[in-house]
């Protein structure tokens, strides 16, 4: 009992005590001093990174809830991992209610900033960059929350990722806004995730701008309810430089938006221009898989009210040139759907109803009988495609106290 009372008193003291600021500055032993601060921080504390360049030799990690790591600005405080000798990422967060803001991470050997199993993880006003430009040897992801919930990515710039600049995987309740992704293979990718709002971002000079994917064989599967709106998805023209084997290596250079195997995806009010392969691609997952609960088809997808410029003049996917010739004209239609409908989900006796509402036509349907069956394509073009109204997912609401964290 005495211990309990002491414990309670301790907890009260801890919560009543003012949050401490742990100041770290660049210079010799930055690795040890910064990592020590990340270990010493208590819930509510701020690890304050003074302006300057931190030369780091190993990954950093944070595993304390409620900590804010704050720099002096994404051009002022630079964590450089050029000399990194170990770890799969620059900074790893494995705790909840963490805010990372106002600093840059450069030249990590693997991923830039990863958050795993984190609730209320906020990335704000950050820059993650591979300074040598797009290269296959750059790390895979710039910001990489995975298996997390209540994810905020706001005013983040990522350049040079050899997979996705901004990548959210196997997570729930996600907002990606006001951010810039350029010179990555994929600009922004939401994968195997539920309830995401991707809005007011700029995705440019990537191989593909915005990807909404669902892959089989993962602990979290069945991605759904994603809204992609008010983004500028323009001039995605960097030749795909992803190492082969990765799913994004299959993204055609010059793709604006690509939806693969997801449901309830709404793409609206975006500017989509200057993407040589296609403005919007709606496709099935085509690789073999052995997971009976997986649905490889995009379904219940809405594409409406986008400002579609010139796209699709140089389709970079297999058979694209032939298709362009067959259709005649300067470019492919802005929306391209593989047209696969005959999939019977586990536990059903009939193929499910696949609804596509693509009003920013014309729409090219490839009329494939099965995912990836390009040799049996039966293409057709229609002014638009409207399988009826599809309810828009509710806007994503992050916990109210998340906005106050770290400010």
């Amino acid at each position: 009992m005495k211990r309990l009372i002491i414990g309670l008193a301790g907890a009260l003291l801890a919560s009543a005590a003012h949050a401490a600021t742990l100041a770290v500055s660049p210079g010799p032993d930055a690795q040890e001093r910064l990592q020590t601060a990340l270990l010493d921080a208590k819930p509510g504390d701020v690890v304050e990174l003074a302006a300057g360049r931190y030369e780091l030799i190993d990954g950093l990690s944070l595993d304390v809830d409620g900590v804010t790591v704050r720099g002096a600005g994404p051009d002022a405080t630079v964590l450089s991992f050029k000399g990194q000798k170990g770890s799969g990422e620059g900074l790893l967060v494995t705790s909840d209610k963490v805010v990372l803001r106002d600093f840059a991470v450069e030249d990590t050997r693997g991923d830039g900033i990863k958050a795993k199993d984190s609730d209320q993880i906020s990335f704000r006003n950050l820059r993650v960059e591979w300074t040598g430009g797009p290269k296959e040897t750059n790390g895979a992801y710039g910001v990489y929350p995975v298996s997390s919930s209540n994810v905020l990515i706001d005013k983040v710039t990522v350049r040079g990722a050899s997979d996705a600049g901004i990548y959210v995987g196997q997570s729930r309740n996600i907002v990606v806004r006001n951010s810039t992704a350029e010179f990555n293979v994929a600009g922004i990718e939401i994968e195997n995730s539920m309830n995401a709002d991707v809005h007011d971002n700029l995705a440019t000079r990537n191989a593909g701008g915005v990807l909404i994917f669902d892959l089989p064989g993962l602990p979290v599967m069945g991605g759904h309810s994603v809204r992609v709106f008010r983004n500028r998805i323009v001039q995605n023209d960097t030749p795909n430089f992803a190492p082969k084997g990765n799913i994004v290596a299959e993204v055609p250079t010059g793709t604006g938006v690509m939806v693969m195997a997801n449901r309830d995806v709404h793409v609206f009010d975006n500017e989509i221009d200057g993407n040589g392969s296609a403005a919007v691609l709606l496709v099935s997952y085509t690789r073999p898989y052995d997971d009976a609960s997986y649905n490889p088809l995009p379904r219940d997808v809405v594409v409406r009210d986008n400002r579609i410029g010139r796209n699709g003049w140089s389709p970079g996917f297999p058979g694209g040139d032939l298709l362009l010739k067959a259709i005649g004209g300067e470019a492919l239609p802005p929306v391209i759907w593989d047209g696969v409908t005959n999939f019977t989900p586990k536990g059903f006796s009939e193929p499910q109803v696949v609804r596509i509402r693509a009003l920013d036509g014309p729409v090219l349907s490839l009329g494939l009988p099965a995912p990836g069956a390009l040799m049996q394509a039966n293409p057709s073009v229609a002014p638009s495609l409207d399988h009826g109204s599809i309810e828009e997912p509710q806007s994503v609401a992050l916990p109210t106290d998340q906005a106050a964290l770290g400010s």
Binding site: Q31, E32, R33, Q35, T36, L38, L39, I57, D58, G59, S61, L62, D63, Q84, K85, G86, S87, G88, L92, T94, T108, R109, G110, D111, K116, D117, E136, T137, N138, G139, A140, Y141, Y144, V146, S147, S162, D163, Y167, G169, Q170, L215, G217, L218, P219, V220, P243, K244, G245, N246, I247, R287, P288, Y289, D290, D291
Partner: protein, 353 residues
């Protein structure tokens, strides 16, 4: 060479002097103190000559994690009057107050493992009332004291390998969070080595070689254990008497399965290499990478049956590049013998043609 001489001189002095240092006694109080000790000597784990306290019980897992060819010595400590409870899966159930102690060291020459040994670090896992805590202590040059390094450390060192070649190592001491990366099961810190199946193997005790589970049960340190025949068992990776399949699965379990399991930090990859996994796809056979990035090496699948050179598993085990190599923590060198085992296993799998 100078270090070797110093070591010998030290040993000689001990012999000549005839006054052995006072035996060490483990301080259970120090182990459970609110703040970890800054110096390892506070725990009374070793005497002045570096010999373990009598309360420390040595053990070794059937198949160890590869740690850059470092020699590892392991012990556990139990508070007086307590014992370990047997659990068939996961780590054995150690009482609060127990500690696991592991020292990493390099002999100057791996062919003479007992000579000119330099201790690098000793890691402690202490079972506190609120859970397990990991601490790493880095030894001084003389091996007389080790200091707490919570933020980790890098040590440049070297050794002569089994073939007589000089090797240099950028040896890395993990920081406290990195300990957790491997040691967490569903986010909770836990021991890895002392599980029933890892201790269901022989150990060369000073007086004789004996099965560890059987011995611990016989000495009353472990309760509820079945006979070794009835307990699960991790195959010994380098025992030629075991099948190739068993040796490989034992190796993958010890070297990959702590993260690559449904309760490990790499669960999001969908690749499970723990001993319990049986689904071919989850084991990597024909499995496309998910978040490997350049780790894929331009290869399509984790394991291409019959084709080790086309298997990402082999590529990442062979690599020493951060961002590519696996495991991503705990090594800077390639484990040639382990890699050869995995290659042989994949080569022996029936391929598509």
């Amino acid at each position: 060479m100078r270090r070797a001489l110093a070591g010998l001189a030290c040993a000689a002095a001990l012999l000549a002097g005839g006054t052995a240092p006072a035996p060490a006694h483990v301080s259970g109080k120090a182990l459970l103190a609110e703040r970890p000790a800054l110096n390892i000597s506070a725990y009374g784990l070793f005497d002045a000559a570096g010999r373990p306290a009598a309360e420390l019980v040595p053990f070794a897992p059937a198949t160890p994690l590869f740690s850059d060819y470092a020699e590892k010595q392991r012990w556990f400590y139990l508070p007086p009057g307590t014992r370990i409870r047997y659990t068939p899966q996961g780590p054995l159930d150690f009482p609060v107050g127990a500690a696991l102690v592991k020292t990493f060291a390099y002999p100057a020459d791996l062919r003479r493992p007992n000579e000119a040994v330099r201790k690098l670090e000793t890691r402690l896992l202490i079972h506190r009332p609120d859970g397990w805590v990991a601490l790493a202590y880095v030894w001084n040059e003389d091996g007389t004291e080790a200091v707490l390094k919570r933020a980790g450390a890098w040590i440049e060192t070297g050794f002569v390998d089994a073939k007589g070649a000089r090797r240099s190592v950028d040896y890395r001491v993990p920081n406290a969070n990195q300990c957790k990366e491997c040691h967490s099961r569903d986010g909770v810190m836990a021991p890895l080595g002392p599980s029933a199946r890892n201790l269901n193997a022989a150990f060369a005790y000073p007086e004789r070689t004996e099965n560890q589970l059987a011995r611990l049960a016989r000495l009353g340190l472990l309760e509820g254990a079945p006979s070794p025949q009835a307990a699960p068992r991790t195959p010994v990776w380098d025992d030629p008497a075991e099948t190739l399949e068993a040796r490989t699965r034992g190796y993958l379990d010890a070297n990959c399965g702590h993260c690559h399991s449904p309760t490990g930090i790499a669960d999001n990859s969908g690749l499970n290499l723990n001993l319990e996994e049986t689904r071919p796809h989850a084991l990597g056979i024909g499995k496309a990478p998910v978040a490997a990035g350049r780790g894929s090496g331009g290869l399509a699948v984790s394991i291409a049956p019959g084709r080790p050179d086309e298997s990402i598993l082999v590529h990442r085990m062979a690599s020493t590049e951060p961002g590519v190599m696996m495991p991503e923590l705990g090594r800077s060198l390639t484990h040639e013998e382990g890699l050869a085992l995995i290659r042989a296993w994949i080569a022996a799998m029936p391929g598509p043609d």
